[in-house]
């Protein structure tokens, strides 16, 4: 079981390593975000009444968005495998369907976490202050976000037959998920329908946790309270539960197919 998960995970990583476009994108995308948010938006938006630098407020959202993008995109490999016939090779092997799904999910989550690490490494360049002590917590939640999104992506991929339909669903999902993640504005002051919806959005839990960890020693508790939704433990619990649910559903979908 573990060997199967590892083997499937490893193939995702090898394929990533061979794809120069994807590697370049991994480095360029964060740089682009940082350039836009770091130099452009800082001046225009810094006037809000957050009681802290807007960039500090935004930064967890940028990380989360970046993790989400890579995690979602990486799960497309399952659809490709189906289109190019390789999925049959995997499905006819004497291995558990759960091992296949987990290998794929861990693969996508690893790549997403790798992207986020790069983003973290670049943050001092634009003047985001990160305390060393905050790093483990940040990393932990980046991986959790990656897992939750990869699991959701894989569930969708296991139901989709073509790259086109997969891409379409992603397009439809990504924008509202990001918009209602609390990355741009605090959800506490959002209308009730939006808060209800974001209650199902794994990204909002991720952003909430990342922000608390990042700002722990930089903002007063009173200010922090203005954005905080749940305790980090609650956030982690939700993300884990969400991941397990999506993984289970994906396994069911795989079992049905073959």
């Amino acid at each position: 079981m573990l060997i199967t998960i590892f083997t499937i995970w490893q193939r995702e990583i090898i394929r990533y390593g061979r794809d120069k476009t994807r590697i370049v994108a991994t480095f360029v995308q964060p740089l682009m975000f940082l350039a836009i948010f770091g130099t452009g938006l800082r001046q225009t938006l810094a006037t809000g009444d957050f009681g802290l630098d807007f960039l500090q407020f935004m930064y967890p959202g940028i990380i989360a968005m970046s993790v989400m993008g890579v995690a979602f995109f990486s799960t497309i490999s399952t659809v490709w495998d189906r289109e190019f016939g390789f999925l049959k090779e995997i499905l006819v092997a004497p291995v558990r369907r759960s091992a296949i799904v987990l290998g794929k999910v861990f693969g996508a989550a690893s790549l997403a976490a790798f992207q986020a690490l790069i983003l973290l490494g670049l943050s001092p360049l634009i003047g985001v202050k990160i305390q060393l002590l905050a790093l483990p917590g940040l990393l932990f939640f980046m991986i959790l976000i990656g897992l939750a999104i990869a699991a959701l992506g894989l569930l969708i991929a296991s139901l989709m037959k073509t790259t086109e339909s997969f891409g379409l669903i992603m397009q439809i999902l990504i924008f509202p998920m990001f918009f209602m993640s609390g990355a741009f504005f605090p959800l506490n002051s959002a209308p009730i329908w939006m808060r209800t919806l974001s209650g199902f959005n794994p990204l909002s839990y991720g952003v909430d946790a990342l922000r608390q960890i990042l700002l722990a020693n930089q903002a007063t508790p009173a200010i922090l309270d203005k954005f905080t939704l749940h305790s980090p433990i609650m956030n982690a619990a939700f993300l884990l539960a969400f991941s397990s649910l999506a993984v289970s559903a994906a396994i069911l979908a795989f079992n049905k197919k073959a």
Binding site: I3, T4, T7, R11, I14, R15, R18, D19, E83, F84, G85, F86, K88, E89, I90, L91, V92, A93, P94, V95, A258
Partner: protein
């Protein structure tokens, strides 16, 4: 003991019956062929036997494991080369095999030797470090066969193994397949619509519209047609027919100005015939029946030979080009 046993196996897609109540057994060490036209149900049968599809009726066993209730045991015991390409082109040949070996739990210590063994068998040993992307259609097919063998399956399933390959590559591939049978005593279940390839099989089942219409050795199937055909030409046709009836008690018939005579072991009979006839003969031919004749006789239709259907042409094209 039979290595594959199939009883009343049926597969329906909605209300279309792709495989219709088929029965057969495959013996260890034989090459068993499924011969049939497009859409006959060949690939569907393979999918049922390899657990990729669930039957809607009947049962089947591979190495006495039930294909429905004992799927993992069946999967562990089979090698499968799909009709359509199924390699990861972004991996090297060796990486494709390693991936496969791990999923089939080939012991890590045994892997290097097996890798060398199967790659040498298909003459790809010195290409193991190359990306599959750079392989030709025939090389990919050989690699797929090597992959199907590396976990030492009891049965190797080959779905149209030579489809889309040029005649020379096809012949080479057959050399490999026959070598497998010879050196490893491998049981091979294969499908084809090339009649000349069906001749390599120990036994063939002719399948048409989901049903098996005949099952025997290629030689017996042809024998069942009533033997060879001798064609004679003569200006005195009527006299020749009479002489044959008189001396051999055989009924020859005249068709399009030629005299046809059906006979078993025609090559032995022909010298005797010519020696004893006095009527002048201007030309003579002896024709052995082909599987084409068998198929025509059973179904009333010609099996597609070299003129492939659009679907096949697309498949052949994909195989040569490979997914990007």
């Amino acid at each position: 003991m039979d290595i594959i046993r199939v009883e009343n196996l049926t597969k329906k897609f909605k209300n279309f019956t792709a495989v219709d109540n088929i029965n057969f057994t495959v013996r260890p060490g034989e090459i068993f062929g499924f011969l049939g036209p497009n859409g006959a149900g060949k690939s569907t049968t393979i999918s049922l036997l390899t657990t990729l599809l669930q039957p809607t009726g009947g049962r089947a066993w591979v190495k006495s494991f039930d294909v429905v209730s004992d799927r993992d045991a069946v999967r562990q015991n089979i090698g499968l080369v799909f009709q359509d390409p199924s390699l990861d082109e972004r991996l090297t040949a060796e990486e494709n095999l390693r991936f496969h070996a791990r999923l089939y739990r080939v012991p890590a210590a045994a892997y290097p030797a097996r890798l060398e063994e199967v790659l040498r068998l298909v003459d790809l040993w010195d290409r193991q470090k190359n990306l599959v992307k750079t392989f030709s259609g025939g090389m990919k097919r050989r690699l797929e066969i090597a992959r199907g063998l590396i976990h030492y399956p009891a049965v190797l399933f080959l779905d149209e193994p030579t489809l889309g390959l040029d005649p020379q590559t096809r012949t080479n591939l057959w050399d490999y397949i026959l070598k497998l049978k010879r050196e490893k005593n491998m049981t091979i279940f294969m499908t084809t619509h090339y009649l000349n390839e069906a001749e390599y099989c120990d036994r063939i089942a002719i399948i048409d519209r989901g049903r098996i219409t005949a099952l025997d050795t290629p030689a017996n199937l042809k024998k069942a047609l009533g033997g060879d055909v001798i064609t004679l030409q003569s200006v005195q046709a009527a006299r020749l027919i009479a002489e044959i009836r008189e001396k051999f008690q055989l009924a020859a018939e005249e068709k399009n100005g030629e005299i046809l005579l059906k006979i078993t072991a025609g090559e032995k009979f022909l010298p005797r015939l010519l020696a004893r006839l006095h009527t002048e003969i201007s030309a003579v031919t002896l024709r052995k029946p082909t599987l084409d004749d068998v198929f025509l006789n059973l179904t009333g239709r010609q099996i597609r030979e070299e003129n492939a259907s659009p679907k096949d042409r697309l498949r052949a094209h994909n195989r040569m080009r490979g997914p990007k």
